[in-house]
Structures are given as structure tokens and as C-alpha cells.
Amino acid sequence: MIQWLKDLMAGVAQPMALVEEGVRPVAISSEGRVSVRADQGETLAKQLALVIDLNVCVGCHACVTSCKQWNTSGSAGPLADEKPYGADPTGTFFNRVQTYEAGAYPVTETIHFPKSCLHCEDPPCVPVCPTGASYKRKEDGIVLVDYDKCIGCKYCAWACPYGARELDEERQVMTKCTLCVDRIYDEKLPKEDRKPACVKACPTGARIFGDVKDPNSEASIAIRERGGYSLMPEWNTSPANQYLPRRVTDVAGGASKVQPTVGGER
């Protein structure tokens, strides 16, 4: 009861201040609380993101399973599975790989399409949250859910045009990709392992992780030089994650060219 009151008072007095365990603080207020929440429309200096290379994704689902393994065991989990051995299994995942077929037989292309939260720079899911459980971190632009504050109203999922959020049916709170926030800053891990689990698992290197606000990061260079594009640009959500379009390679010795009909703005 007392803790409940304390929570309430703290929340009312400082709705913008949130504490995130295991996160390096950027600003500490006079009360000693860590301020990590970005304001709506704020331009951040750093934006971590994934760049997905559709050219090399082979649809092996290793990113899906490694994501599930890491996040069901880590600070985000457990991610519920229901009827895992039944006829109609279902479960909570942060990352899915879908498959599309473009063109008409016999000239078709199979495109494997990994899909997770895009960590939008203007995330429509954040302002609609009535409790402030959904927020975008000032520090690195990661969009997160505070599972202790979420009331499970699902309004944020309605407000995400990409369907990136999944309600955990057991805990009844909204869950989503955290960009492995509990891993990328973990100084107990070797430096090369401080990457999202999906990135580490990808056998073809189809997932590039980095700061898209840093023009010299691998992610920014890939976006710039290989025609990176956003999903559903019509809604102006400015997704941080971008996709690299399919390219076709000419006969041996010929130059590579970007396929004009498949892929982004090219």
C-alpha cells in the first residue's frame, strides 16, 4: 500500500522521468532519478537501428530464434508461448521473417523479409500510451515499454501501422523489440557481442546494427550507398530501421546494378 502510494506520488510529480535498470544515465535530475524519455518531436543526437539487407537474407529464421532465446531469458522475458505442441501454437515474438514472391512465373523472385519494431524517430505508439509505459529513449532513440507500468490496453498496438507490437498473453502487457537494450551496453560481454541477438545470429550478415545519426557508421553508409528505404513512408513515422533493396548481378565480369523494379526509391 505504501509503495503503491509512493509510486503514485512519484508518477504524478515527475511523469517524464523514468528509471531504466541497467542503462547508462544521460541526465540525472535533482531527485537523483534518471531521465531517459525523449519528448515528442525531439531530435536525438543518436539513433540506434537495424539495416536489413534483403539482398542476402535467406529466410533461415536464425534471427527469430536467437531473438526469442535472448529475450525470453533476459530482462524482457519470459515471452509466453501458448499451446507450443498443440495444433494451433502461438507465442510472443519480437521479430518475424516473412516471405514474399515478386513477379510472374517463371520470372519470379523470392524475398525473405525480416520484420521487427522500426524504432521510429516519430513513433506514433508513444504519445497515445495513457500511462507513459511506452517511451522513446533520449539516449539512443530505442522505443521501449516499461512492463511494470503497462496496463495492457493495446492502444499502442492499434497506433503502430507496422504491427510491430505483440501483447504477451500470459503477462498481459505489451511487448516489442528492445534492440537488445540489456545486451548492447553490457560491459561484462566481450565487445563483439554487444550487439542485438538477431544481428549476432545472422549467418549471411543481412542485419547491420548501428547509429544512423552517425554518418560514418556502417549502418549509415549502407543506407546511403545501397539505396536504403523506409517502410510505409506515407505515414511520416521516420522509421530508424531501413531496408536495403534487392540487386541483381549481371554475368561474370559485368557490373552489379540495382534492380529497378524491386526495392526502394531507385
Binding site: L8, Q40, R96, E101, A104, P130, T131, G132, G163, P245
Partner: protein, 307 residues
């Protein structure tokens, strides 16, 4: 979208309660004669309806014990604003009832009730209308219809109540108003239904994936069975069921009540208002169900097949 029964019940029942309180408040303000006991009974019924609505809205939450947190983000969230205005409205109705009970008859409480009821309609409708990429909802008619349908059902409820509780002085005013508002609501709801039936969505499978080939089909959704995404955003009702619900909402929600109200008003036949209420209740539940079911979320583009 998959219509959540809790939200369907909450929005219809709270809307009708708001409509009845506004009807009673207007009647009090313009000085229509009615027994003080009738006014109190009406307010008590509205209060109970609002409490049922509040309970239904709690049933929508995965973690209802944390519901109090939903008042915090009123600066940015329409849902948060609704969570604040709904108890405020219940409070005004309760206060007005209490004032009448102890014999205080002021114009300020009915005035406040009208203002807060309007605010609540605005907040409820904006929850849906502010989601810009759910194009069936992101339009001014969403606000108009939430308000007018609430007013229509509230006026019909007030008229039926005045028949049951023998308040014939009230009936000419509320009955005529119910008829007019129901006809206008029928027109505006039809406008929204027509607009949504032919809506051309901005997002396509091509814009959703960035694969610009004109011939693009999904072969796998990335799961063997369903997920939250296939449960929450698809109503799983067939085309025939949708067609029947649409017919039911027009006939039961608007057409039959209009005919019955016309009969009641012109012939002065009281039972017609009670019948109009009985017919409209299932009609408006169908209407609210259809409001959710008709909305196509852009995320559905990513879930076209199960494989």
C-alpha cells in the same frame, strides 16, 4: 480490427447515458415540466449505466489493477483524457442527483453535465479519429456519429422512461427531439458507411514492404499458426456476416426506431417509444461492432496468408 466486446459495450452504454443526461439537463434548463422524482430516477439510471460502462472498460485491460496509471499522460493521449473525463462525468451526474435529493435545484449542475458530456464524446471519438492511418476512423464524421448516436439513444431512452414513469409533459419535447436526432444520425452514419465502403487505402503491400513489383504475393507470414497480430486486427467474420450486421445496424439502429418514433410523435402513442428503445439497443451494439470491424489496419497488409 477485431471488435472488443468490452469496448463495444462501454462506448454504446456510456454514449446512451450521456445522451439521457444531456436530454434531462436541456429539459431542466428550458423549463419543461417534470416531476423531481423523475429527474432523479433518470439520473440514477444514467449513473448505473455509466458504472456498467466503466466496469466494461476495465474488462478491456490486461492489467486492470494498474488502471489508475492511465490518467498520467493526458498531455498527449486521448485515451488518458477519456480516463479523466469519464469519472468526472460520473461525478457531475452523482452530484446533480445528490443536489436534487437534498432539495437544491441549481442550473449550474445541468450546465456542467452538458459540457462534460460533450467533452467525453469528444475524447471517446478522438481515441479513434486521431489514429491517422486507420483511415475509416480518421475523419470528422467519427466525432459527429459518436455524439449523434449517443444523443439519439439517450433521447429515445428518456422518452421511453417518461412513458413508463408517466411523465406525459416531457414526451412532446423529447419524442420530437429523438425523432430529429435519430434521422440526422442515420444520415451522418450512412455518409460514414458509404465513405468507408469505397475507401482507397494509402498503404499497399508495395509500400509496406518497399518491394515495388506490381505482382507481389505473400508466401509466409513468418509463423505456422496465429499471433497477436492475427487475433487483434482481424474480425474473422465472413462477407455475408458483415453484410448482415450492416443491414441490422441500419434497420434496427436507425430505420425502425425512426418509424416507431414517427408513429409515437404523430399518434401520441406511448408504447411506440418503448418499442423504439427495445429495437435500437441491439441495433446500436451492431453499429458499434461494425465500426470496429470495418476498420482495416495497415498492419493487416503483413498478414495475408497463414502458411
Amino acid at each position: 480490427m477485431n471488435p472488443a466486446f468490452s469496448v463495444v459495450i462501454f462506448t454504446s452504454i456510456a454514449g446512451a447515458a450521456q445522451g439521457m443526461v444531456v436530454a434531462l439537463a436541456l429539459a431542466r434548463l428550458v423549463g419543461v415540466a417534470m416531476a423531481p422524482s423523475f429527474l432523479r430516477t433518470g439520473l440514477a439510471i444514467a449513473g448505473v449505466m455509466l458504472l456498467i460502462g466503466l466496469a466494461a472498460s476495465f474488462a478491456h485491460l490486461g492489467r486492470p489493477e494498474r488502471a489508475w496509471r492511465a490518467v498520467l499522460m493526458w498531455r498527449t493521449s486521448w485515451l488518458s483524457r477519456e480516463v479523466i473525463v469519464l469519472p468526472a462525468f460520473i461525478g457531475v451526474v452523482a452530484l446533480w442527483w445528490l443536489a436534487l435529493y437534498v432539495g437544491i435545484d441549481t442550473v449550474w449542475l445541468p450546465l456542467a453535465a452538458i459540457v462534460v458530456a460533450a467533452l467525453l464524446w469528444y475524447c471517446t471519438a478522438m481515441i479513434y479519429a486521431c489514429l491517422r492511418f486507420i483511415e475509416e476512423w480518421a475523419q470528422p464524421l467519427t466525432l459527429v456519429n459518436f455524439t449523434l448516436i449517443g444523443l439519439s439513444s439517450g433521447l429515445i431512452l428518456t422518452s421511453a422512461l417518461s412513458v413508463v414513469l408517466a411523465q406525459p409533459e416531457l414526451l412532446p419535447a423529447t419524442g420530437t427531439a429523438a425523432l430529429l436526432v435519430t434521422v440526422v444520425a442515420w444520415i451522418t452514419r450512412t455518409m460514414a458507411l458509404r465513405r468507408n465502403a469505397v475507401i482507397k487505402h494509402k498503404s499497399t503491400l508495395q509500400s509496406a514492404t518497399g518491394i515495388r513489383a506490381p505482382n507481389l504475393v505473400q508466401k509466409s507470414m513468418g509463423m505456422s499458426a496465429g499471433s497477436f497480430n492475427t487475433r487483434e486486427f482481424f474480425h474473422h467474420a465472413g462477407l455475408l456476416a458483415m453484410k448482415n450486421v450492416k443491414l441490422a445496424l441500419i434497420v434496427l439502429g436507425f430505420a425502425l426506431p425512426t418509424a416507431l418514433l414517427l408513429w409515437g410523435v404523430t399518434a401520441g402513442f406511448g408504447l411506440a417509444f418503448v418499442l423504439a428503445l427495445a429495437v435500437q439497443v441491439p441495433g446500436l451494439v451492431a453499429d458499434r461492432w461494425f465500426f470496429f470491424a470495418q476498420a482495416k489496419h495497415p498492419q493487416n497488409l503483413y498478414y495475408q496468408v497463414v502458411s
